[in-house]
Symmetry: C2
Subunit: 216 residues, 2 copies
Amino acid sequence: MAIVTIERKVLEKNDQIAQLNRNAFDRDHVFVINMVSSPGAGKTSILERTLEYLKGSIRIGVIEGDVQTDLDAQRVAKYDVPTVQIVTNGGCHLEANLIHDALANFDLTNIRILIIENVGNLVCPSNYDLGEALKVVVASTTEGDDKPLKYPAMFRNASVLLINKIDLVPYVNCNVNVLRANALKINPKLEIFETSCTTDSGIPEWCAWLRKNATD
Amino acid sequence: MAIVTIERKVLEKNDQIAQLNRNAFDRDHVFVINMVSSPGAGKTSILERTLEYLKGSIRIGVIEGDVQTDLDAQRVAKYDVPTVQIVTNGGCHLEANLIHDALANFDLTNIRILIIENVGNLVCPSNYDLGEALKVVVASTTEGDDKPLKYPAMFRNASVLLINKIDLVPYVNCNVNVLRANALKINPKLEIFETSCTTDSGIPEWCAWLRKNATD
């Protein structure tokens, strides 16, 4: 019982700090997305393609979240955008206070889109508001078509679903129509894109959507 | 500070119940493995292949852990082995008390190998002893070769690594030698098998290892 109380307090405290983050983003007109997925679903690759597509025309900042290493920040570094790596040191998700601390390293007035790449985890990050405008969940076709049913909170709390590694469909046991139907059963409002970072399929559409929502 | 104390107590309590589970397994000579991985790495498929290979010659029981649904237990049901589905209802990992409760549904004297399939999560299950003999981590080639460095606790606490979906290597960005080296850097004692549930590659070797360790 004590634990439940503590957990509720942790989430309340997190929501308060998330609201501070959201106020800061609103004040400086920064559109913030929180990218979530299983490990290895392709969040960093999608981020790289997104930076390639949009970097010349809109100012982007990146916060990388990882349990260990700054490997992802190293990958992003070549695009020469403001980037902060958060290492959670065993922590299974990002929390609003980590984002709040990271913001000290950004000039928000000089950023239009902030992309937060969460820890690879399809369960825990779903509960934690970071102050983002919306969550983008990436599901790889290699994970099969049943994941929305087995991990519903993440799909319920996301606004966008990127069905990634769509080029691998011929080789894996995944029916994309079933995956879409399962996702929409959990969350009928999901905006869905089918993407591949190998063929670039769907990347222009996703980037156009992101740019439109960031500038509307 | 309060939270850290609570977390420590949760882990201490978990370890006590895990020891009770371990005592029960030792008493009835049951060899227990705790299968962990990202969502969609192929734990259930490996379990299915393992049941096909070993079911005729050694008695196996299964505990399925999922955030939601009994889809995995349904998949296992066709092999006609004792199976219990644990639904964590949002919980991101199995704990020893859930296993303890599930054991009431088994006749342990009639089981030689108990396979526990944990929630798909490469972070949280690493901290929780369930009373198992060892953890088996499944890493899919589709997740890339950097996961042991980014999620080290899971690879450090496992005894066996199954590099799964080895048939997809030609289509994905994963150097298996780098993946092996990264895993061994984190845990030099890891026993490694390369497996595919599509081609059955590596499955006989893994099953032979499991049988040997269960009956030695």
